[in-house]
């Protein structure tokens, strides 16, 4: 293998490039990203960058070495499997003998054609636009009570803004399970955020968006509406190829897709995961490492055993979680207490551990992972 093309210049793509070099690959690596910004970290966007306490420049990932060609503002529009090349929207073809598909995902929008002013929060430009919009001390409606929506609401509320979160389901319930979801929801309510749960999709109101219409007929006015209603994997550029898919790109346990082609990050779902993606930082890193390894070693590469680690910070709670989520029912409280707002929690089924979480509690992440390992029986 002499020519690797990586489609996607965010964490998964960058980590794959790093991992290829760390494993001794000395051929060419070309990293293609459609954003104009150099690779950057997204977790601070809904937190420090939105709050204005962290500069957008500080989110930049330190530059890759000069042995990686980074092509910014270059969009992959087609995969040509016969020619083994990635075709850019300029028509330029980048030939490869190894391909890493890390094209990520984009924010889903609720806006209809002609509507203006809906805010999304996926890219640095999104974050800067929203931050600018917050300067006039607007009222804010956040549609979507997942991680991104709740973190955004938390930051807006900490800025002293009037914030309402709208969703069809109780906040975070589907992703975290009842216990952790309730804990975070209570923290949100305590902070003064309003939460509106109604069936059906919310609709954005106005040509210049000025609120949302709930399915029960109520209209919520807001100066700023943020849609945090999930993301869509960027797979359209694969649609003329044999890798065409509607949902995420499904990769095997080594993150392989086809001979010489691997995938990682928000665009992929690991087989056996029920077709669900795990669009979290640690997942992108471990998938990118596995993908790089598979590209170099094929079936001899070790299969990926996901750490299943992720975290969220909102409403004064720093929650780190490892394991199979959502997890339902009360945990064993290993240390601390929820009332004191610092705790180490563990969930078990019989003797098997299924998940562990810390709340405002620091411990080595390896220990947290151990507490969530199925064969661990120690509390």
């Amino acid at each position: 293998m002499r020519d690797v093309v990586v489609v996607g210049a965010s964490l998964a793509g960058v980590t794959a490039a790093d991992a290829l070099r760390l494993e001794g690959y000395d051929g060419s690596i070309t990293l293609v990203g459609d954003e104009l910004q150099p690779p950057y970290a997204r977790p601070p966007l809904s937190k420090g960058v939105l709050a204005g306490t962290q500069s957008p420049e500080s989110t930049l990932l330190p530059a890759l070495g000069d042995d990686v060609v980074v092509r910014l503002g270059a969009r992959a529009s087609r995969l040509d499997l016969q020619q083994r090349s990635v075709v850019l929207d300029t028509g330029e073809a980048l030939p490869f003998d190894g391909l890493v598909i890390a094209s990520g995902a984009r924010a889903r929008s609720l806006g209809r054609p002609g509507q203006r002013g809906e805010h999304l929060l996926r890219t640095i430009d999104d974050a800067l636009a929203l931050r600018a919009g917050l300067e006039g001390r607007p009222s804010v409606v956040v549609v979507g009570a997942g991680f991104l929506g709740m973190e955004t609401a938390s930051t807006c509320r900490a800025l002293g803004l009037d914030v309402t979160v709208v969703d069809r389901e109780p906040p975070l319930h589907r992703v975290l399970g009842d216990y952790l979801a309730r804990m975070l929801t209570e923290a949100a309510l305590d902070s003064g955020v309003r939460i509106e749960i109604t069936d059906g999709d919310a609709q954005l109101l106005g040509t210049d968006v000025r609120g949302v219409l709930l399915s029960d007929g109520r209209a919520l006015d807001a100066d700023i509406v943020v849609s945090a209603v999930g993301d869509l994997p960027n797979v359209e550029w694969l649609q003329d190829s044999a890798l065409s898919c509607f949902g995420p790109l499904v990769v095997n346990e080594r993150c392989m897709v086809a001979p010489g082609i691997v995938g990682a990050g928000d665009v992929v779902a690991l087989c056996g995961a029920g077709g669900t993606r795990t669009p979290h930082w640690a997942s992108a890193v471990e998938q990118a490492q596995a993908a790089a390894s598979a590209l170099l070693h094929g079936q001899a590469a070790p299969p990926l055993t996901p750490d299943r680690y992720f975290w969220t910070e909102q409403f004064g709670l720093d929650v780190r979680i490892c394991g199979d989520l959502p997890v339902h029912g009360p945990p064993t409280i290993v240390e601390g207490s929820i009332a004191e707002r610092t705790a180490l929690l563990q969930w078990k089924t019989g003797d098997a551990c299924i998940a562990a979480a810390t709340v405002n509690h620091r411990m080595p992440i390896t220990n947290l992972k151990r507490l969530a390992a199925p064969l661990n029986t120690a509390a």
């Binding site: 964490l11 960058v14 980590t15 790093d18 991992a19 070099r21 760390l22 459609d34 104009l36 910004q37 150099p38 950057y40 970290a41 977790p43 601070p44 962290q54 957008p56 420049e57 500080s58 989110t59 930049l60 990932l61 330190p62 530059a63 890759l64 070495g65 000069d66 980074v70 910014l72 503002g73 270059a74 969009r75 850019l88 929207d89 300029t90 330029e92 640095i124 430009d125 800067l128 930082w281 640690a282 890193v285 975290w311 720093d318 780190r320 620091r362 411990m363 080595p364 992440i365 390896t366």
Partner: protein, 84 residues
């Protein structure tokens, strides 16, 4: 599209050679341990989950630099920097 036109965040900087130094922004570090996963010779989390940086991080020799750079790039809160 094609070649970059303008980046809001500036352009790529050139990489380093020779000895480099790892700088930690302690106000940002949250102890997720991504760096320690890549290069435990330089980064470790102590029993309290706080990052401990090995004294070598003040002067990382070339053989370790690639791993150090990969470790720094993996930080989710941009708490690590490499300085020449």
């Amino acid at each position: 599209m094609g070649e970059p036109v303008e980046s809001r965040l500036g352009t790529e900087t050139t990489p380093w050679r020779g000895f480099v130094r790892i700088e930690v922004d302690w106000s940002r570090c949250e102890g997720h341990g991504m760096c320690a996963d890549v290069e435990p010779q330089l980064f470790q989390l102590d029993d309290e989950g706080q990052l401990q940086v090995h004294p070598d991080a003040a002067e990382v020799p070339e053989p370790l630099q690639r791993r150090a750079e990969a470790a720094v790039r993996r930080c989710p809160v941009a708490a690590l920097r490499i300085e020449p």
